[in-house]
Amino acid sequence: MPHPALVLLALLLPLAAQAAPPYVAKLVGPFHETESVDVNVSGSVIVGVSSLNATGGKAVQRLQLLHAPTPPSRLVCLTMQSRDGVYYSRNTFELPAESAGSVVAVPYDRSSRLDKLAKYGHEDLAIRASAGPCERSANEYYVLDASAARPPDRVRVFVNSFGATDVFYAGGPRVKPVACKSISEGRRTSFDYWCDIPWPRGGGDQLGVEILRERFGREMPAVALTLFLAAGK
């Protein structure tokens, strides 16, 4: 009969392997973050793209990027924006060359405001990782997660509607546009809607999604985005 400690070790080993992804992204250039009561108003409709596990300030220290099997670039631009507009960070990270299709840890340990970030709730902090360096705007996004234990159920996209009265997303497994949820309480400086997009099972490497907005019935320009789906997810 095997020793109980060996059994326990055998049970914990896979979990440990899952808890610590083998690849770690590297920060490119100096770390940039601001926290100011003089808030900025972002010009981007898509403010955050992450799994439900990776929403909220407590997730920032265990961010994992679900890397694309065929990435367009090894660089990603990680931005974080609080709903009240007080906190903002934008940093370029480089993904390991051999990490395509794998889970890559994105260290956020250079922040000097981790304590304050931890106080942001699930509806208060938008995180996104777009393909390419921060100097270049892109509509291709990696999905950020906080746990590699199992695939995320949903991807939450935080949207700055710019005064829209209705916001929908179209794409993914659903054909008809689905209403996004309005954030009615609290400050809505950086974003005011979120859309929970079901994670496609057995799909391809990418998922095309459109964010549709209406203002008192009148259509506003649609915003298309591409989500990279990690292999095996």
């Binding site: 009240d84 710019f162 005064g163 009265t165 209705d166 009615s184 309480e185 809505r188 400086t189 019935g217």
Partner: protein, 377 residues
């Protein structure tokens, strides 16, 4: 030669005799008893009451009532779905995502409703039409979001959305025909500038009221001017309230008044009014008035993270009339007793007695001040 000396005690004797003649020993006893009671019973009791009132004021703060009065191009309400809210909507174009029985739909070419999912219905101006939102017990706990905004053509538009779980926003009452038209979950109302038939009034009892909107580079609607006031309940004024503080709103501010989640919860009340006649050279605006009990008003100003408009922490004491009265009574009593003690002390050390005392100590006539300093010991 020194003047003949008089005994000060002898000098005071006629006065004392007169006083003794006038006040009996019993009255004097009562007076001293009164002083003793005031000093050792009443004063400590009042101090205890004062401490109790201070503790009460700290842990049970007074009720603050906030009012907003503003002129704004945008306002938003969250209405409780279980309460019926009725507004007259003659002359509007009603846009619905669901077909409405009993109303004639406009052609798509004539529709001002925008996207294809919206079906337009022109509401006649000559009939009395009442939009009755909510009022269904089945919708208890859910809410209806209303957003109103003036249009660039000096008209008005409103979006009305039911929370998921609400199947119908309510009914449109065609009062003249006695017909109720059931509404869907989404509704837009548009009053084009040229077609507005009458001044519009939208009274409400809401869970949340927002006047103004976040300033962004993509939109021009904003709050133009306004003021906020804080009141506390009082029985001393006919209005049953006393103003504690007042502040002006700046253009671009966004101010929010939320439901007071106490026991019982209290909802802000007020109205939005859209005047048909407005100055030609100014943008069309809504007059927004809201009043309600709350912990604070949230002001969000462009470029900063916002602040809460609420009374100074000392206001819970300064606005407590009973606490002020007891404090004043204690102060008055202390002043009275202190004054009496000082007077009695001064009387006990009358000039004649002071002179006699000096002579008893020093003998002869008083020394000059300079010499006195040197020989004071």
């Amino acid at each position: 030669m020194s003047a003949p000396q008089r005994d000060p005690a002898n000098a005071a004797r006629p006065l004392v005799a007169a006083v003794c003649g006038a006040i009996s020993a019993r009255v004097l006893y009562l007076w001293e008893l009164l002083l003793w009671l005031a000093t050792f019973i009443l004063l400590p009791l009042l101090v205890i009451v004062l401490l109790g009132l201070v503790i009460f004021a700290v842990f049970v703060p007074p009720s603050w009532y906030y009012s907003i009065s503003a002129r704004s191009e945008a306002a938003a309400l969250t209405l409780p779905a279980e309460r019926e809210t009725s507004w007259r909507v003659e002359g509007a174009t009603l846009c619905s995502t669901e077909a409405l029985e009993g109303l004639a739909a406009l052609d798509a070419a004539d529709s001002p409703c925008g996207a294809r999912r919206w079906q337009a219905y022109a509401l006649p101006q000559a009939q009395e039409l009442v939009l009755a939102l909510g009022g269904s017990p089945a919708s208890a706990g859910r809410s209806i979001a209303v957003s109103m905004e003036t249009r660039s053509d000096r008209g008005l538009q409103a979006s009305i959305r039911g929370e998921p779980g609400i199947t119908s926003l309510g009914v449109l009452r065609l009062v003249d025909q006695g017909i109720d038209v059931a509404l869907g979950r989404e509704l837009n109302l548009i009053w084009p500038g040229e077609a507005r038939p009458r001044d519009l009034m939208f009274p409400f009892i809401a869970d949340h009221v927002r006047v103004g909107r976040d300033v962004t580079w993509s939109d021009t609607s904003l709050l133009h001017e306004g003021s906020m006031e804080i009141f506390t309940a009082t029985e001393e004024h006919l209005s049953k309230r006393t103003r504690v503080e007042e502040a002006e709103l700046l253009p671009g501010d966004q101010v929010r008044l939320d439901r007071f989640d106490g026991d019982p919860p209290l909802q802000p009340k007020g109205f939005l009014r859209f005047d048909r006649f407005q100055a030609e050279d100014s943008p069309g605006t809504l007059t927004a008035v809201a009043f309600g009990r709350a912990e604070s008003l949230r002001i969000e100003r462009f470029g900063d993270s916002g602040y809460d408009f609420q009374p100074h922490w000392l206001a819970k004491f300064t606005q407590n009339r009973l606490l002020l009265m007891v404090s004043g009574f204690i102060g008055g009593l202390l002043g009275l007793l202190g004054g009496y003690t000082v007077i009695r002390d001064i009387h006990a050390r009358s000039p004649a007695r002071a002179r006699a005392s000096y002579k008893a100590r020093c003998g002869g006539k008083p020394e000059p001040p300079s010499a006195n300093e040197n020989t004071s010991d």
